[in-house]
């Protein structure tokens, strides 16, 4: 079974803090994604990566950056957290050429 592990289930951070969300996968998938999930808005793509050190912006990259130094790990960085970044963050992986995405359990981030 594919396992996608997000480092925290719940996180509370203060406005202005630098926040790191970590995602690790154990299935050697080339592609990794960060989504944000908000009620009534569905899942929106923040960033994705199709190879180590490669990244591309999704639909809502503003206020976020990412890092992928190793194939199995994809980090989402909030440079200066703001209250409008309070949300559920979901990491996903996929194999190139196959479109099924495997999701982690999510990190519910609250910025106060």
């Amino acid at each position: 079974d594919v396992k996608v592990t997000q480092s925290s289930r719940y996180l509370v951070k203060r406005t202005g803090e630098k926040v790191f969300l970590e995602c690790v996968q154990d299935m050697d998938h080339e592609n990794m994604f960060w989504y944000r999930q908000d009620p009534g808005l569905g899942l929106r793509l923040i960033y994705f990566s199709y190879d180590v050190k490669m990244k591309e912006k999704g639909d809502i990259p503003e206020g976020y950056s990412v890092s992928r130094e190793k194939k199995e790990r994809f980090s989402l960085i909030l440079e200066s957290a703001s209250t409008n970044q309070t949300s559920m963050y979901l990491c996903a992986t996929a194999v190139t050429g196959r479109t099924e995405a495997f999701f982690g359990q999510g990190t519910r981030l609250t910025v106060v």
Partner: protein, 116 residues
């Protein structure tokens, strides 16, 4: 043109009934249409998917109906059970080869409640 429009936002069905969720898209380059199921506290998981070369795909009680000319697809859950209560997302993507993975464009989700 990248949007996937999903309806209804919420749905209440009696046990044993049929649940129907609809999605519409505009980008004719989309060639993969999955449905994801998400239980509270969990990440979404692939439920069933279809490609546009077929008009229907059935897996157990779950069926996708696909209308290419209308650019619409729907999920039908037959004999709905309380255990089916979850949020359902439709999605669409374009498959790329030799480069970056086609990104999934998600609908906004439908919260299904099946009453016993």
């Amino acid at each position: 043109q990248q949007q996937v429009k999903q309806s209804p936002q919420s749905l209440i069905v009696q046990k044993g009934g049929i649940s129907i969720i609809n999605c519409a898209y505009e980008n004719t380059a989309f060639d993969y249409f999955p449905w994801y199921q998400q239980f509270p506290g969990k990440g979404p998981a692939l439920l069933i998917a279809i490609r546009p070369d077929v008009s229907e795909k059935k897996e157990g009680r779950f069926t996708i109906s696909f209308n290419k000319s209308a650019k619409q697809f729907s999920l039908h859950i037959m004999d709905s059970q309380p255990g089916d209560s979850a949020t359902y997302f439709c999605a669409a993507s374009t498959t790329y080869y030799g480069g970056s993975q086609g990104n999934l464009i998600f609908g906004k989700g439908t919260k299904l409640s099946v009453k016993p």
